[in-house]
C-alpha cells in the first residue's frame, strides 16, 4: 500500500478527531441515541394507530413505515448533533482549527451516520418482532446503508445551515424532507422490492438511483460545506 501524503493524513486525522469526540460524548451520555430510539418507536406507534395496520396491508407498507421512521428519527439526531456545536460556540472552535473544512463535514457526517445506523439496527429487530415480519436479509441491510448515507450526507449539510438561522427549532425538516425525497423513494422501493422478493433486475434500478444520489449528495455537500460555515 502506497504511503499517504501528509495533507491526506492530516485530513484523515481531523476527520477522525471530529467523529471521535461526537462518539465519545455520546458513549457517555447516550442521550442522543436514546432520544432517537424512543422517538423512532413513538413514530411506529403513531403509524400503527393512524393506519390500524392489519396483517394484509402491513406487508406492503413495511418498507415505507420503516423509512418514514428512520427519516423522522434521523432529523431529530441531526438537529441535536448540530445544536451541540452551536451551544458554547464550538462551531467557531472547529473552524479555528487548521484543518480543511471538508474534514469537519466528513467527521460530523460520519458520526451522524453511525448514530443513524445504530438506531436502525435496533429498530429493525423490534419492528420485526412487533409485526411478525422477517427483516434479516443482507441485501436489505445494504439498501439501508445506502439510503442512510445519502440521507446523512445532505442532512449534515442542511443541519449546519438550519442551526445558524433564527428559526433553527423548526427549519431542518422543512429544508431536508423535500430535498431528500428522491433518496427516500429509491430506498423505499428497493427495500420493498427485496422484502417482497421481486426479481433482482426490478430492484437494481432503484439501487442504482440510490447510488447516484449518494454520490451526488456527497460531492455537492463536500463542495459547498465551506460556504455554509464561513461568514
Amino acid at each position: 500500500m502506497k504511503k499517504w501524503s501528509r495533507p491526506v493524513k492530516d485530513f484523515l486525522r481531523a476527520t477522525r478527531a471530529v467523529a471521535w469526540k461526537d462518539l465519545a460524548a455520546e458513549l457517555r451520555s447516550r442521550e442522543l441515541l436514546s432520544a432517537m430510539l424512543v422517538f423512532a418507536l413513538l413514530v411506529i406507534l403513531i403509524f400503527n394507530f393512524a393506519l390500524e395496520l392489519d396483517v394484509k396491508t402491513r406487508r406492503s407498507v413495511t418498507s415505507g413505515v420503516l423509512w418514514a421512521t428512520f427519516i423522522f428519527a434521523g432529523t431529530l439526531g441531526l438537529n441535536r448533533s448540530m445544536a451541540v456545536e452551536k451551544d458554547r460556540g464550538c462551531l467557531d472552535g472547529l473552524l479555528l482549527a487548521p484543518v480543511d473544512r471538508a474534514a469537519i463535514y466528513f467527521g460530523k457526517a460520519i458520526s451522524n451516520l453511525v448514530f443513524m445506523l445504530i438506531v436502525e439496527m435496533i429498530v429493525l429487530p423490534i419492528y420485526s418482532v412487533l409485526y411478525n415480519v422477517s427483516l434479516f436479509e443482507p441485501r436489505l441491510l445494504g439498501v439501508i446503508l445506502l439510503g442512510s448515507v445519502g440521507y446523512t450526507a445532505v442532512g449534515t449539510l442542511l443541519a449546519a445551515m438550519s442551526v445558524q438561522t433564527r428559526t433553527r427549532d423548526v427549519l431542518l425538516p422543512i429544508l431536508l424532507f423535500p430535498v431528500v425525497i428522491p433518496v427516500a423513494i429509491a430506498a423505499v422501493k428497493a427495500s420493498g422490492g427485496i422484502l417482497q422478493a421481486w426479481p433482482m433486475e426490478d430492484i437494481m434500478p432503484w439501487i442504482n438511483l440510490l447510488l447516484v444520489y449518494d454520490v451526488i449528495f456527497i460531492s455537492v455537500a463536500f463542495m459547498v460545506f465551506d460556504y455554509v460555515v464561513e461568514e
Binding site: 445532505v154 449539510l157 442542511l158 445551515m161 438550519s162 445558524q164 438561522t165 433564527r166 428559526t167 433553527r168 427549519l171 422543512i174 429544508l175 424532507f177 423535500p178 430535498v179 425525497i181 428522491p182 451526488i216 455537492v220 459547498v224 460556504y227 455554509v228 464561513e230 461568514e231
Partner: protein
C-alpha cells in the same frame, strides 16, 4: 433607475400582445382533441408554465453558483427573482394539470410519480423562502439561499424525467410514446400552438423577471439610503 427602461416598456406591451395571440391560437387555431375535447386545450398553458417554471428553477441554481463564485449581490437578487416567479408559474402548471385531471382521470389529484415530484419541487422552493425568512444577515441569507437552490436544482431533472423513467398515468407526448391515461398524438397545429405558447410564456417570464430584479435593486437602494440616513 426609477423610470422603466424603454426596452422594458416594450416588453410589457409585447407580453400582453403575445398572451392575446397565444389565447387566440389555443382557442381557434389548435384543433379540438378527439377524445378529451375542450379541456385538452389547457394543455398548452400547462406545458408552457411547467417548462418555464422548471427553467427558472435551473436558472436560480446557476445564479446560486454564480453568487458563490463571485459573492456579488446581483446574483442573489437574480436567484430570488427566478425562484419567486417560477414558483408562481409552476403552481399554475400544477393547477391547470389538476383542472385537466378532473375530467380525464376523474380525480383532482393522484399520487403518480410525476405529480408527486412536481409537488415536491414546489415544496423545495417554498422551503427556500422560509429559509431566507429565517436569516437576518444578508450575506448569510444569500449564501444559504444559493446553496439551497443548488440542492433544489438537483430535483428538477428528476421531475422532468419522472414520466420517462417510471410507470405513470401522466402522458408523455414529446419525444416519447403515447403512454399514460389521456395521452394523444399531436397534430402539427397542436405542436405549433404548444411551441408558440412556450415561447409566449418565456417572454412573459423574462418581463416579470426584469420587473422583479428591478424591484430587488430598488429595495436595495432604499436600504442603502436608510443606512446612510442612520449613520
Amino acid at each position: 433607475m426609477t423610470e422603466q427602461p424603454v426596452a422594458l416598456k416594450v416588453l410589457n406591451g409585447l407580453s400582453a400582445l403575445l398572451v392575446a395571440a397565444a389565447l387566440w391560437m389555443v382557442v381557434f387555431y389548435a384543433p379540438l382533441e378527439a377524445v378529451m375535447g375542450l379541456v385538452q386545450k389547457v394543455f398548452y398553458f400547462h406545458v408552457a408554465n411547467a417548462w418555464v417554471g422548471m427553467l427558472g428553477f435551473i436558472a436560480a441554481a446557476f445564479a446560486g453558483i454564480a453568487y458563490l463564485a463571485t459573492k456579488d449581490v446581483k446574483w442573489d437578487i437574480v436567484g430570488v427573482a427566478a425562484v419567486e416567479i417560477s414558483l408562481v408559474f409552476f403552481f399554475i402548471a400544477i393547477a391547470t394539470g389538476s383542472i385537466w385531471a378532473y375530467p380525464v382521470w376523474n380525480t383532482w389529484w393522484t399520487w403518480d410519480p410525476r405529480l408527486t415530484t412536481a409537488a415536491v419541487l414546489e415544496m423545495i422552493y417554498l422551503a427556500y423562502l422560509l429559509l431566507r425568512q429565517g436569516i437576518e444577515d444578508p450575506d448569510r441569507r444569500a449564501r444559504f439561499g444559493a446553496v439551497y437552490t443548488l440542492l433544489g436544482g438537483l430535483s428538477v431533472p428528476l421531475t422532468f424525467m419522472s414520466i420517462r423513467l417510471f410507470r405513470t398515468i401522466h402522458p408523455v407526448v414529446v419525444g416519447g410514446g403515447n403512454g399514460g391515461e389521456g395521452g394523444f398524438s399531436m397534430t402539427p397545429a397542436m405542436l405549433n400552438t404548444m411551441f408558440f405558447s412556450i415561447f409566449v410564456f418565456s417572454v412573459v417570464f423574462i418581463t416579470l423577471f426584469w420587473h422583479r430584479v428591478r424591484l430587488g435593486r430598488l429595495a436595495q437602494r432604499v436600504e442603502e439610503l436608510k443606512l446612510k440616513a442612520m449613520d
